[in-house]
């Protein structure tokens, strides 16, 4: 019901001498809606007429006025300094409330409702809160995403473990004996092996296969090529410890034989 409707009905009741049951119910309802209280419960014959008069006075004084956004708590009236006017929610205006709070900033607790001024005063703080709130929301979303990823990975892992178990069971049932394999050589190891083969001379391989020491073999060969006599070489090498054993004259001659067999022309 708007102000015009209230005024119209109150004005109409003002001209009536008696009220019907419907009128009485309507007056009671409007009295409560407009004044926020019930008509006094007594046997007074004029209680409805008094209520209508009270409504007329109230509508005349207040209903043309826009209702303030500020609301005082029950049990509070304010009297701005320098005036004798006492304000309640019935006649409070935003300007009066703002002026009062400017004079007494600590009196905010006397108000039930203070329109967004608090938020405006705390502008930067609110922005910070909003930013923090956005961060928190983003972190929550990320957390949810990670949880979903974790659940997915856990499912994969469980599936793999189950498959492996099934395979092991199958092998056990089929009595297949698995022999351990030599570990496969890596490409690097294979390359090293190839290099070794290239570095070793063919003769040395043969010499090593004959049980001769390749270093002694090479050294004796070099001395022969240099023109040293066999007796001088024998004299130098007999008694030398090679591979844990002392070299004998016969042992040195084995080197001579091997060198000669390798180079028949010489």
């Amino acid at each position: 019901m708007n102000y015009e409707e209230i005024k119209r009905r109150v004005s109409a009741w003002g001209t009536q001498f008696e009220f019907s049951t419907a009128d009485r119910a309507a007056i009671e309802q409007m009295y409560f809606d407009v004044l926020g209280k019930h008509i006094r419960n007594c046997n007074c014959p004029d209680r409805y007429r008094d209520a209508v008069i009270e409504l007329r006075i109230f509508t005349k004084n207040h209903l043309t006025m826009e209702k303030a956004k500020y609301v005082l708590k029950a049990g509070v009236v304010i009297q701005p300094s320098g005036t004798s006017e006492v304000y309640t929610n019935d006649n409070l205006t935003d300007a009066v409330a703002e002026q009062f709070l400017k004079e007494r900033p600590g009196a905010r607790g006397l108000f039930e409702v203070i329109p967004n001024t608090a938020a405006e005063e705390k502008g930067p703080e609110n922005e910070k809160e909003a930013a923090n709130s956005a961060d928190i929301d983003a972190l929550r979303a990320e957390n949810e995403s990670l949880k979903a990823e974790l659940a997915k990975m856990t499912e994969y892992r469980n599936r793999a473990v189950a498959d492996l178990d099934a395979l092991v069971k199958k092998i056990e049932e089929s009595n297949i004996v698995l022999e351990p394999r030599e570990p496969e050589k890596t490409a690097e190891e294979e390359s090293d092996d190839a290099n070794k083969g290239e570095q070793e001379p063919a003769g040395d391989k043969k010499t090593a296969a004959n049980g001769l020491n390749p270093e002694i073999y090479a050294a004796i060969k070099a001395r022969l090529e240099a023109g040293d006599t066999k007796s001088a070489i024998v004299a130098d090498y007999v008694g030398m410890e090679v591979d844990g054993k002392a070299l004998t004259k016969y042992g040195v001659e084995k080197y001579f034989t091997a060198i000669k067999a390798e180079n028949p022309a010489e």
């Binding site: 004044l35 926020g36 029950a74 049990g75 509070v76 009236v77 009297q79 006492v86 309640t88 929610n89």
Partner: protein, 201 residues
């Protein structure tokens, strides 16, 4: 609170306004848990005067209407002594001239275990006081300790209660002998009480 325990005023007759005893026909009861204690304001420099008495959101006071020549008869203040000093017992007594399921459910049953604050209007109001006219009109009881049930009875043949409920609430060990409600003038305080009854709207 007067911590120095020194009397600061002559004990004399009030010649500006004749003193009259008694209470007005209407008082107001409030559930004590509905008082917004954090925002109650005391008048500057007057520790026995409350200037703003806000209630929590949605709460309001309930009028207590009495009839007869001695409304709230039996309402008293008693000064007591103890080893740790004196204290005050406030008693509020009233009649409920009705008996019904609603009265039992909405009034008497809550009184059995509830804690209340009561505002009574004195006939002596100090209306002619130059600085604080009407400062003595309204007294608050139960603010500090809460009023709880002291006695209650319903005697269908009682002449005092006319067959209704007789209720007595008491606040024990109140630290002050009187706590008044004064919003600046008698009419301002009366308006304040209307807002207590109507709630914030």
């Amino acid at each position: 609170m007067n911590c120095d325990n020194l009397i600061k005023k002559a004990i004399e007759r009030n010649c500006d306004e004749p003193f009259v005893g008694g209470l007005e026909l209407v008082g107001w009861i409030i559930n004590r848990s509905h008082v917004d204690f954090a925002n109650v304001e005391f008048a500057t420099g007057r520790p026995n005067v409350i200037s703003a008495f806000p209630l929590t959101s949605g709460a309001h006071a309930f009028p207590v209407y009495q009839t007869g020549k001695k409304p709230f008869a039996g309402s008293t203040k008693t000064l007591n002594t103890s080893d740790l000093g004196g204290y005050v017992t406030n008693r509020v007594q009233f009649i409920i001239l009705d008996n019904s399921p609603e009265v039992s459910a909405d009034i008497v049953d809550p009184i059995l275990d509830g804690e209340f604050v009561f505002i009574q209007e004195n006939k002596a109001k100090h209306l002619t006081d130059e600085t604080h006219p009407g400062e003595s009109a309204f007294e608050v009881k139960g603010f500090y300790q809460g009023l709880t049930l002291a006695e209650g009875s319903l005697d269908p043949y009682s002449d005092d209660a006319n067959g209704g409920w007789s209720i007595a609430l008491e606040e024990e060990k109140s630290p002050v002998s009187g706590l008044f409600l004064d919003a600046g003038s008698y009419s301002a305080t009366k308006t304040l009480i209307n807002t207590l009854v109507n709630g914030a709207e």
